[in-house]
């Protein structure tokens, strides 16, 4: 009951926090998608560059998010600012997106690419008409993981001055107010779940039935 009471009496704050959370996510997601999808496409034929970048991304993943925020905060251009938070989130999404784009594009059956080339498709047509549609399931899976992760990591941005849903959880812990923690946790998880459901919907909408069905066949075997 106390959760509901808390929710009702602090509705204005909670709405602000939610919007701040969504705003941070939106900017980070747009930047991540743009950056890592295009980078993944650019490096698809450059295995050395790809390996270096993927190693760098894995290293970032290994840095605890709190300390990454901390480090970014000390850099003058970032500081206690939404820029630090966005930058950290974008870095964390690198591995799941970039790696999946690179592996998926390179995982397309070479015979299919050869027949596309042999029929007179240009390299650009091969990319857009053949490679990307076939790589899409793996790319979407990567994006899905990245987005759900970003929703969670965004809560920790409260330590560098963001006032989002992480605030409820952090304050709840400091003041031992369980209802605050629970309210924050429920809202953050709802965003996660919604993002996941949305991605599932997009997957169904954009994937060719031919690719989906052949994937299902693979799973049955």
């Amino acid at each position: 009951m106390s959760v509901i009471n808390y929710f009702i009496s602090n509705i204005d704050n909670i709405i602000d926090y939610t919007f701040a959370h969504l705003y941070l996510l939106l900017i980070s997601i747009i930047l991540s998608l743009f950056l890592w999808l295009s980078l993944g496409i650019i490096i698809r034929n450059k295995s050395k560059t790809a390996k270096t970048l993927i190693a760098f991304g894995s290293f970032i993943m290994a840095v605890p998010s709190i300390s990454l925020y901390g480090i970014l905060m000390t850099i003058p251009a970032f500081g206690l600012n939404i820029r630090s938070a966005v930058f950290a989130l974008v870095l964390y999404s690198m591995i799941p997106i970039l790696r999946n784009v690179y592996t998926a594009l390179n995982g397309v059956n070479p015979a299919i690419i050869e027949s596309a080339r042999g029929m007179g498709m240009t390299e650009r047509q091969i990319l857009w008409k053949v490679q990307l549609p076939l790589a899409l399931p793996v790319i979407i899976a990567g994006v899905r993981v990245a987005l759900v992760m970003m929703v969670g990591i965004a809560t920790l941005a409260v330590f560098i001055g963001e006032r989002n849903l992480g605030q409820l959880i952090y304050q709840g812990i400091v003041r031992t107010r369980t209802e605050m923690i629970i309210t924050g946790a429920i809202l953050v998880s709802s965003i996660s779940v919604s993002v996941d459901i949305l991605m599932g919907f997009l997957e169904k909408k954009f994937l060719s039935p031919g690719v989906l069905k052949s994937l299902n066949l693979g799973r049955d075997q």
């Binding site: 027949s115 596309a116 007179g120 031919g210 069905k213 066949l217």
Partner: protein, 369 residues
């Protein structure tokens, strides 16, 4: 039509040339089969024609135009390309797959639709049932047919086929080969066909190019290659059974006897008996009024059973199609224990007959030449 001139290819970092100083002319409307052991350069040669591999030196002319002077993608749209792995696009339907090159060439949608239907008909795939299917829903043989249809979609005068029937089971392969040969009679393309299987080369080729270690060893008709192998390598490559392989090349229609006796279902008993006895035969082939093969009757069973309803004593006899090879006939002889067969066309109309003596005479005649 296709002319290779001093064509060589050395891959980067390799000392030996994959293809060395190859000169070749492929005539319009011919199937030229490139054959040889693996690593002989046959696939490299094929892929240089549509510039999937760039030659190190030499030129390729198609209808007198140097391919090096054309844009790669535009050159390839005018050359059909079929590979062993087929390479159908899994995310596209049969229709979309076939429409690939017409779309690249920006045909009107209506023209594309008509062409797809025409091709499905040509390759014998039921359009209504298959046009919206995805490749994984088709059998291996059907996929290969769609692959061929896709390569022919924009009606290219030239087709390159890299072991196109290599990945299917032997029975389907024979079907696809026969079908393709029938198709080729209608479409009359200039075709370069790579295989490592000499039997396939003999069956499919108007000309055969035998290669070894990047060099042309012999370029000739299948018949000449079998009867006059250039050197020991060719002899070894075609195998010790080359006399038997000649049988693959000769079609029943070339050596059948078309002057022979038969009776019609409506003949009456007495004239039938008279006919058989006059010719000193023991049996006679019977056809219906429109010359469709019905079977045969023996003199003995006719005489034993009397004259009423002699048609009841017609026995079935296996027939061979006119475009079957002598090898097929031998197969049938061993299988059915007959030494003589009626020859029929695709509609089961009686055209002639063939027996062991015809074959023997023909082969000894061929070799005396």
């Amino acid at each position: 039509m296709i002319k290779l001139e001093n064509l060589s290819k050395t891959y980067q970092g390799e000392a030996k040339a994959a293809v060395y100083n190859l000169n070749l002319e492929v005539e319009e409307g011919e199937i030229c089969v490139f054959v040889g052991p693996s690593g002989c350069g046959k696939t490299t040669t094929l892929k240089m024609i549509n510039r999937l591999i760039e030659p190190s030196s030499g030129n390729i002319y198609i209808n007198g135009v140097n391919t090096a002077a054309q844009k790669k993608s535009e050159l390839r749209r005018k050359i059909g390309y079929v590979i062993q792995e087929i390479g159908l696009f899994p995310h596209m339907t049969v229709k979309e797959n076939i429409a690939t090159v017409p779309l690249l060439l920006k045909w009107e949608q209506k023209k594309i639709d008509e062409r797809v239907m025409e091709l499905l008909e040509l390759i014998g795939l039921d359009a209504a049932a298959n046009i919206d299917k995805y490749p994984h829903e088709l059998s291996g043989g059907q996929q290969q047919r769609v692959g061929v249809a896709r390569a022919m979609a924009a009606d290219p005068p030239i087709m390159l086929m890299d072991e196109p029937f290599g990945a299917v089971d032997p029975i389907t392969r024979a079907d696809l080969q026969n079908e393709f040969l029938r198709l080729q009679k209608k479409i009359n393309k200039t075709i370069c066909f790579v295989t490592h299987d000499i039997d396939e080369a003999i069956k499919m080729g108007d000309k055969i190019l035998i290669m070894n270690k990047g060099k042309l060893i012999q370029y000739d008709s299948p018949k000449n290659i079998l009867s006059k192998p250039q050197n020991e390598f060719v002899e070894d490559f075609i195998g010790s059974d080359r006399a038997l392989k000649v049988l693959n090349l000769i079609h029943v229609s070339e050596i059948m006897e078309s002057d022979f006796d038969f009776a019609v279902l409506s003949d009456d008993y007495h004239s039938l008996i008279k006919k058989i006895k006059q010719k000193k035969k023991k049996y006679l082939l019977i056809t219906s009024a429109d010359k469709k093969l019905a079977g045969y009757v023996t003199l003995r069973s006719l005489e034993k059973n009397g004259h009423k309803n002699w048609q009841k004593y017609i026995k079935a006899i296996p027939a061979v199609k006119k475009d079957a090879s002598l090898k097929d006939v031998f197969n049938l002889m061993l299988e059915k224990e007959f030494t003589i067969f009626p020859v029929v066309d695709l509609e089961n109309k009686l055209l002639g007959r063939i027996n062991l003596d015809n074959i023997k005479n023909h082969i000894s005649f061929e070799y005396q030449e």
